[in-house]
């Protein structure tokens, strides 16, 4: 099957890895880099628990091969808080009690983060549409939307650690 050497920036840190052809980005993050914040909920691109930023755009890590991430800039949930401080979006989630079991939370944060980057003041409807690919069984979604709205009303969320920026 062969293995492929890749270079990928993850949460601002450059990594050099040898990945298998059939290894997904999700497996690479969780099993090689021990970044277990990104979750495996379905391995089918349906639930969004594995959502990460790839070159600034939210994607399901289970739907990307690790080898396809060669040269990419990846941000996971671990890359959002800085120096142990929740960023404004995370703080809004805490304040709005938008976290219950926490399994969907990393993916939701990434999707929400990306939404606010491209649309700093989304409507409720736009927020819901942006979160369509993030399933949650605990919260009923309303708090997630409220948290995003609350965060959008404050300053723009702090930028994640980027590779060369």
């Amino acid at each position: 099957m062969g293995s492929h050497p890749i270079t990928v920036t993850v949460n601002g840190a450059k990594e050099r890895l040898n990945v298998q052809s059939n290894e997904t980005l999700l497996q690479m993050l969780r099993e090689r880099l021990a970044l277990t914040g990104t979750k495996n909920g379905c391995s089918a691109g349906e639930c969004g628990a594995c959502t990460i930023l790839m070159n600034g755009e939210p994607v399901n890590a289970c739907m990307v091969l690790a080898v396809e991430a060669d040269g990419a800039d990846i941000v996971t949930v671990e890359g959002l808080a800085k120096d142990g401080q929740l960023n404004a979006l995370q703080e809004a989630f805490a304040e709005q009690n938008a976290v219950q079991c926490g399994f969907c939370t990393p993916g939701v944060l990434i999707s929400a983060h990306a939404l606010l980057e491209r649309n700093p003041h989304p409507t409720e409807e736009e927020t819901k549409l942006a979160l369509v690919g993030n399933l949650c069984r605990c919260t009923g979604y309303l708090r997630l939307v409220e948290a995003v709205q609350a965060a959008s009303e404050k300053a723009a969320p702090s930028a994640p650690m980027k590779g060369d920026a």
Binding site: T105, T139, G140
Partner: protein
């Protein structure tokens, strides 16, 4: 509601303090079972599964699987003779002699990687002899139905469950109160209907996963996502013959349970696989597809119900038969049938009741506990009949509920006296919130608007003696560790435990840390985190432990000050005297004690508080009548109203508002109750549209998220209005009782009642769908689209 991060919160009970687990969950630091790092010693397992719904196993050949490089062991039912089960021990860990559902594990492969284990699992060769299968409970109870458990009479079973050997009936609960036959003639309105509900699944975002390690010494460790570490230890230890002290179950955060991670599901498989490769931890995790049909699902139900009332709207009689489609193994499902039986009237005062509630074996995946534990299933029919009775006698449906709902002190169907609750207040709150009396116009000519209401009750369904225990230990700086056995599933158990400990001891909330993960080696006993029992039962244990610690502290300080403990108190971590106004900070004294005067020695020492709680007043119920002084510990009640619009051209529904109100006794953390109400309303709404589908050979048709759809962010109601009532529970901590399941119990019938209000069409069977609604409209001749 904003939950600010305070630094020192006094008297936290009743306040919406910030969750204690939120930082870790927001940063990705929160550890779930699949996140635990085990190192290169870790093996992986996959299961080979039956392609038949019912078949004898003639031969299993594991030789090809064993030849795959990297495979360390292949285990079959021959190597695992044990049966496991919660209330009825009917389930082999790996199939022995026969398979009873499509997907039943027949072998397990352990290998150095998951993909090798998977490859090898597909090389296990099994020769089957197919047997006739049965899928519907009504077929399974027929005398000529294939017998799924010929050995039913030999299974261990708890004293309060009564399987019928020689049949497919695993439990039959009988309720006889008064005399229904003489009551029917007195009824001015009678409604009799049959309702059907399909199997649905919990769909927790985190699929089941377990890691088991069996050491050569005989010590076994199980890391697993479970609601029930202690119950799993007990059941697995008993069935596999491990001394309890040798089996350690450790569960980190659970990514959603909803009942699916209660009892024992696939965890025992991990243990028997680990036994084959001693010294290596073995990880077994379910794919999402396996999660749907390889763990547990909510049982299906056929309910035949007849209820009658007089012209004034007084309920007089009810007769009901429940046939739960329990799937291939009913070890937990039997108690759902029982619970449905002893609560079969719903939250109503009905003087004459005849109820029969059965769980029935079928050749389908395993039925098990799911949020509501039989209550959502039975309320689907009950609440629709109540609506129809109201209609027949010309009474407003909300008024009908107010009139007939069970009230404090009523003698309910089992002969028990109803503890203090207030259904009517809940009804009032939701009718207010939804503007019940206002008839709004629909938003477009092709839409119809309707409002519906439903009430509910549920008791924790447990054996009579489920216990909780807790220990509180101080650190030198006066901060407190609270040790519990209850699990944080997302409902906020850890947070309310901290609140209650802080309140009972007199500490700021922020000084209290709940010790996790739950680990049977260190954590005090907790029966299970199920049944919405934790705030009440664990809460009592935590309160008792905190009060124990408080007494010890006050005794030491009182003696030191030569005062009496009754004049002392602890406030914000400082012991104060109301008499002398002296103060003693807890810091250090909770470990080192206090010096006596004149260096004559010391008083006190490390303060450790312990507490336990177990209800001792639940009684047996008569086998023939279901009567007994105290069937259950208590009931939580509530009401829900739904305001919706139906697009008659497509059948699609827009949910405008769901209003919910529950009698929680005491809101320990008000906003956490709101989050349960919101999540429950959406879960309840979604559940009305969900169904696991099987073909004519019992094979699943939609066991993936592509075709088993759950509510997403765009499907939610525009508004959810939550509220609560506080009628204290006599033995609840500060009067609190649980609400975690109740919040979704009556959503489906409330929706059905609202649809009926909008369209004049009733749906007896779940699931609902736009298609079903549209085709029903078409059949009525109304819409050609």
């Amino acid at each position: 509601m904003a939950v600010s991060e305070a630094t020192s919160t006094s008297d936290p009970v009743g306040k919406s303090v910030r969750r204690v687990d939120v930082f870790d969950k927001l940063t990705g630091a929160a550890t779930f079972t699949d996140d635990i790092q085990f190192g290169p010693n870790l093996y992986h397992a996959r299961l080979a599964r039956s392609p038949h719904a019912h078949a004898l196993i003639k031969r299993i050949d594991t030789s090809k699987a064993l030849e795959v490089p990297g495979v360390k062991a292949v285990v079959t039912g021959q190597d695992a003779p044990e049966l496991v089960g919660m209330y009825l021990v009917d389930r082999p860990v790996l199939a022995r002699e026969r398979v009873r559902y499509f997907g039943e594990p027949v072998a397990g492969v352990v290998a150095t990687s998951e993909s090798i284990a998977e490859e090898a699992s597909r090389l296990v060769e099994v020769e089957y002899e197919e047997l006739p299968a049965v899928f519907e409970p009504m077929d399974a109870i027929k005398p000529d139905a294939p017998l799924i458990h010929p050995d039913l009479g030999e299974y261990k079973v708890v004293p309060f469950i009564f399987p019928e050997p020689g049949t497919n009936i695993s439990e039959h609960f009988r309720l006889r109160k008064g005399d229904v036959e003489s009551a029917w003639p007195k009824c001015d309105a009678i409604v009799e209907m049959t309702f059907g509900l399909p199997q649905i699944q919990h769909v927790p975002l985190e699929p089941h996963v377990s890691v088991a390690l069996w050491e050569a010494s005989g010590e076994v460790t199980l890391w697993t996502s479970t609601q029930s570490p202690h119950a799993q230890r007990d059941l697995i230890a008993q069935s596999i013959g491990i001394p309890h002290g040798n089996l350690r179950v450790m569960s980190p955060y659970v990514g959603g349970g909803f009942g699916g991670k209660a009892g024992v599901t696939m965890e025992a498989s991990a243990v028997v696989l680990a036994r084959a490769v001693k010294g290596h931890p073995v990880k077994l995790r379910m794919t999402r597809e396996e999660e749907f049909v390889g763990t547990t699902m909510r049982q299906s139900l056929v309910a035949q119900t007849k209820i009658g009332c007089d012209a004034e709207g007084n309920l007089l009689a009810m007769e009901t038969e429940y046939y739960f489609g329990g799937g291939a193994y009913n070890d937990y499902g039997v108690n759902i049938a029982r619970a449905a039986g002893y609560s079969c009237t719903g939250p109503y005062d009905i003087p004459n009741v005849k109820g029969d509630s059965c769980s029935v074996y079928t050749n389908l995946p395993i039925g098990g506990p799911m949020r509501g534990f039989g209550m959502p299933e039975i309320h689907w029919g009950i609440e629709q009949i109540m609506d129809q009775l109201a209609e027949k006698i010309g009474m407003d449906p909300a008024e009908f509920r107010r009139r007939n709902c069970v009230k404090t002190g009523d003698t309910i169907l089992t002969g028990m006296e109803m503890p203090a609750i207030d259904v009517a207040a809940c009804v009032d709150k939701v009718t207010d919130a939804i503007d019940w009396d206002k008839r709004e116009k629909p938003s477009a000519p092709h839409k119809r608007r309707g409002k519906g209401i439903a009430i509910m009750w549920k008791a924790p369904a447990m054996p009579p003696n489920p216990g909780s225990s807790a220990v509180v230990r101080f650190n030198e700086d006066g901060t407190l560790n609270v040790e519990i056995g209850a699990q944080e599933l997302g409902q906020g158990a850890f947070t309310v435990a901290a609140q209650m400990a802080a309140q009972a001891l007199g500490l700021p909330f922020e000084w209290v840390r709940v010790v996790g993960p739950i680990d049977t080696k260190y954590s005090p006993y907790e029966w299970q985190t199920v049944a919405s029992r934790i705030t009440w039962s664990m809460g009592n244990a935590v309160k008792a432990a905190a009060e124990d610690a408080r007494r010890q502290i006050l005794d030491v300080v009182a003696e030191t000050w030569d005062e009496t403990p009754e004049d002392l108190d602890i406030k914000d971590g400082v012991v104060i005297s109301y008499r002398s106004e002296r103060e003693q900070p807890l810091k250090e004294m909770v470990i080192y004690g206090l010096p006596k005067e004149d260096t004559e020695g010391w008083r006190g020492g490390p303060i450790v508080g312990r507490g336990s709680f177990m209800p001792t007043y639940v009684t047996n119920l008569d086998f023939d009548t279901g009567q007994g002084p105290r069937a259950v510990v208590h009931y939580t009640v509530g009401a829900q109203a739904v305001d919706l619009e139906v697009d008659t051209e497509t059948g699609e529904i827009d949910f405008l508002k769901i209003a919910s109100a529950y009698d929680v006794g005491k809101a320990i953390n008000p906003d956490l109750i709101m989050t349960q109400i919101e999540g429950g309303a959406v879960h309840g709404l979604s559940s009305a549209f969900e169904a696991l589908r099987f073909d004519e050979r019992g094979r699943p048709l939609n066991q993936s998220m592509v075709d088993y759809r759950i509510a997403s962010a765009v499907d939610v109601p525009k508004e959810i209005h939550g509220d609560y009532v506080e009628t204290p529970l006599e033995d609840g901590p500060w009067g609190a009782r649980g609400v975690g399941e109740h919040v979704m119990v009556q959503t489906a019938p409330a929706i059905a009642n609202a649809i009926n209000d909008a369209l004049g069409i009733r749906f007896n069977d779940l699931p609902l769908s736009a298609e079903k609604i549209f085709l029903a409209l078409q059949e009525r001749g109304e819409k050609k689209a």
